[in-house]
């Protein structure tokens, strides 16, 4: 099954590059992660801090009446890789319909050619994030 166009484009952007430049592109995504919308600034989840936690990353998924999904995320500046993952997903999933998001293959992170540049272990962080995003979509659409 084909990926939604915007995810396909992100994938192509990465795969066109050599290993070193893929890391640089991930950094660009990281820098592009928009700040959380005002309405989430005082969200209680943001106060949770897990002892010895790897980059705490928080995602907020919204589903509109038109069943269009938007995702917002925040992660600390000291965690640029995690921010990069979140930014890819925010850009890649935002604007898709609920069904399109749920159909995104769970191994989409493996398609970006990043395993060598950042290690397969770290890529799991992005897989987990995609899983969390989908779970939130399911929760918000379960009626």
């Amino acid at each position: 099954m084909a990926l939604p166009t915007q995810l396909e484009q992100i994938k192509d952007e990465f795969l066109e590059l050599g290993q070193r430049d893929r890391l640089q592109l991930l950094l660009e995504f990281s820098n592009e992660l928009p700040p959380l919308p005002e309405r989430y600034h005082d969200h209680p989840d943001l106060l949770e801090r897990v002892e010895e936690c790897q980059a705490p990353v928080f995602i907020f998924v919204e589903v509109g009446d038109d069943r269009v999904v938007h995702m917002y995320a925040t992660a600390p500046a000291e965690a640029p890789t995690t921010r990069g993952f979140a930014s890819i997903l925010a850009q890649g999933l935002g604007g898709l319909t609920v069904d399109e998001v749920l159909d995104v293959p769970d191994d989409f992170p493996q398609m970006l050619g990043l395993a060598q540049a950042i290690s397969p272990l770290r890529l799991r962080g992005m897989t987990a994030l995609l899983g969390r995003a989908k779970r939130q979509v399911r929760q918000k659409t379960a009626a």
């Binding site: 991930l26 790897q54 705490p56 950042i118 290690s119």
Partner: protein, 298 residues
């Protein structure tokens, strides 16, 4: 010629003060011939967001681990890596990184496997350097490649394998993971990705001393007295003990290995890098659950 160590009085309390440098010392020695500064972080992109001027990056995963076998790189790859960073066998390497030097200590331990003589940690690491308002840059240096000899990794002195741990029972083991991992409530650190251990708990008789207790809130190492109270007092270590430390994949326990070896002066401390991701999946090795160390296996 080795570069003179940092003679700060506050390091004199430790067993091997020459293994630490202060930010003041490093600032004065940026650009000193024979000194190479290396950043090693958990996050593979953190260096790119800004680092100590002139510092090169070595990533624990993509540079120091073999990409196929679960092992560290061999002598040839290590030589190629260090040579490409402008490090010779005589270079004074100053390592620093995020999270109280967690990953820098891991890199230092791997350098030790290859017998690199002069390798030091920046006390307080990356966070303190930045918190103190010292210079950082995003400019990446292009060191002149140099020759680093191909040396065989020595795995017997500071590294322990599973069979070594089985033969070690009766001697002290230190489990440096979080209390929840130790007791068996979970197999990974809170909020870390699952790294695949089939069983939870700890190695019988291991004492729980989470690695981060050795670090002060500003990321520097705690004083000798404080460390003695933790490791000799609470954990009951005595001079002459052979100690094995472990965590989940051997990174957090590298930090503890550094503390026990270089700050407290224990000899013969080994890091079991197979750690819980191996032990917790190995067939028929003994495991204890709950908050207490448990008994020696029969």
């Amino acid at each position: 010629m080795p570069v003179a160590p940092d003679s700060s009085p506050r390091f004199a309390q430790y067993a091997h003060p020459e293994r630490l440098v202060s930010a003041e010392w490093l600032e004065q020695n940026l650009g000193t011939p024979g000194v190479v500064v290396v950043e090693s972080d958990e996050d593979v992109l953190l260096y790119e967001t800004g680092h100590i001027p002139g510092a090169v990056k070595i990533d624990w995963h993509t540079d120091l681990n073999d990409p196929v076998t679960r092992d560290f790189v061999d002598g040839e790859r290590f030589a190629a890596l260090l040579g490409s960073k402008g490090i010779t066998r005589d270079t004074t390497v100053v390592l620093y990184g995020d999270k109280s030097n967690w990953w820098a200590a891991y890199a230092l331990w791997v350098f030790t496997l290859f017998g690199h003589e002069d390798v030091r940690l920046l006390d307080g690491g990356r966070d303190k350097w930045i918190a103190d308002g010292r210079d950082v840059t995003t400019e990446t240096p292009s060191p002149e490649p140099v020759d680093y000899p191909v040396v065989e990794r020595r795995d017997s002195e500071v590294r322990a394998f599973r069979d070594d741990v089985l033969a070690h029972f009766g001697n002290p083991l230190i489990d440096v993971r979080s209390p929840e991992e130790y007791s068996g409530e979970r197999t990974t650190a809170p909020a870390y990705p699952e790294e695949g251990a089939l069983r939870a708990g700890h190695i019988p008789t291991a004492r729980s001393v989470p690695w981060g207790r050795a670090a002060a809130p500003d990321g520097t190492f705690r004083s000798k007295d404080e460390l003695d109270a933790i490791y000799r007092g609470e954990a009951g270590l005595n001079d002459g003990d052979n100690v094995i430390a472990y965590c989940r994949i051997g990174e957090r326990s590298s930090h503890t290995w550094f503390v026990l070896t270089h700050l407290l002066g224990f000899e013969g401390v080994r890091n079991y890098d197979g750690s819980w991701t191996e032990w917790g999946s190995a067939v028929r090795v003994p495991i204890v659950t709950g908050p207490t160390p448990g008994d020696l296996p029969a």
